[in-house]
Amino acid sequence: MKAPTRRALAKQQTRAKVLAAARRLFSEAGYEGATIRDIAAAAGMSTGAVFANFADKSDLFREIMLTDMAALGDAMSSAAARGADVEDALLKLFIAGYSFYRSQLPLARAAFSVGWSPEDGPALRSSPAAQALNDLVAAILKEGVKKGEIADADLDVRARMLFETYLSNYPQAIFEAWTLEALEARSRDQIRILLAGARRA
């Protein structure tokens, strides 16, 4: 395999610098508030250098989101694997998510804001990375069926509702600075309610 050229390495470094600066600015100023100009300045680059690597601001943001969602997927997957049963696995998945964003709630908030926009929202939510998170929840439910813990009843809807519920706890986390303990207690109750109709015995 050919070693990466100097140019390729330089391009990689530029991308990394821009992404790091963008992440910081989106966290500080939100999606609307961050500008390409500010991001470029924070990265010590020209706006030209930014545009050579990214189509526009939404492209930058999407890149950050995809990176995070992939990392989040890994964290959630390993956390869920440690679950004692289906509900515990789901709870651990939820908490892995909240822990992941705990130190970067402003970025989560920006993500929500983008997720809701008619222009960029649908693409973000239907992206393979976002789908993967939803699929992870579905897989946990299927595992629960295999182990005889829950019946195969409305699993697709339940999976979706569980994921939406996970997302719906973020506003409280963001606006009311909820602790992980509080999030965990609430999540446990919600998961129990959502699986009640499928629980065996």
Binding site: G30, G33, W116, S117, P118, T165, P171, R192, I193, A196
Partner: protein
């Protein structure tokens, strides 16, 4: 009346008599501006979205100056907030009329309530979503509350659930706020379907119905064999 020929006391009295009338006229003017701005904003938000609408465009559409928009509203978000509250007033008036007459299992009463909600809002989906998106706007002051904190709707759901506890189809140990939030999450998902996939009120209602069913399954009182003891609430 010329003030030169009047004694000072009378002139002051005459001026005082005029003042409330002038203040009244200013008040009406302010109200007129307010309703024109809100009407214009509602149309623009609904057709162009919240992000895509500027204060300047609202002012132009309303036939007022940008300055007078700002004497009435602190921000674009405040305009959106007021427009939403205004619309929702009509919805809640309708719900207040209907809900006392709803009968039957909690699941049905909740379904009816949300069906009414969807039918009412169906024509202004973009406006609603704009409201939610704006609620997460980073530049807003911390006191701005996201949707889902809507107290009237939550109050209505809470009453519905209380009645369910009385009727015996909702267990008494549930945290009402948690259940309300579950229903709100379901509601928002249904709304997104409408806004992004152009689902109509019928589709939204059927998606919501299914979710309400699943949630209510989880709210049934736990029946246990054996003597009653103090079980911890769920």
């Amino acid at each position: 009346m010329s003030s030169k020929s009047q004694p000072l006391k009378a002139a002051t009295a005459a001026r005082a008599a005029k003042a409330p009338a002038a203040a009244g006229a200013r008040q009406t003017q302010k109200e007129a501006t307010r309703s024109r701005v809100m009407e214009a904003a509602r149309e623009l938000f609904d057709t162009q979205g919240y992000q895509g609408t500027t204060i300047r465009e609202i002012a132009r559409h309303a036939g007022v100056s940008v300055g007078s928009v700002f004497t009435t509203f602190a921000s674009k978000y405040e305009i959106l907030s007021q427009v939403m509250e205004d619309r929702l007033e009509g919805l809640y008036a309708e719900l207040d009329r209907v809900i006392p007459h709803l009968r039957g299992p909690t699941v049905d009463r909740l379904r009816t309530m949300f069906a009414i909600h969807f039918a009412f809002e169906a024509r202004h989906k973009r406006l609603f979503l704009a409201y939610i998106a704006a609620a997460f706007d980073w530049t807003l002051p911390p006191t701005s509350l996201p949707m889902g904190r809507n107290q009237r709707l939550q109050g209505i759901i809470a009453d519905c659930l209380s009645k369910g506890v009385e009727q015996g189809d909702v267990g008494s140990g549930f945290d009402a706020q948690e259940v309300i939030d579950l229903l709100m999450a379901a509601y928002i998902w249904s709304y997104r379907l409408a806004a992004w996939h152009d689902a109509d009120a019928t589709t939204m209602t059927s998606v919501m119905d299914r979710q309400i069913g699943l949630i209510c399954d989880g709210l049934r009182p736990r029946t246990r064999g054996g003597p009653p003891t103090d079980y911890p609430s769920i």
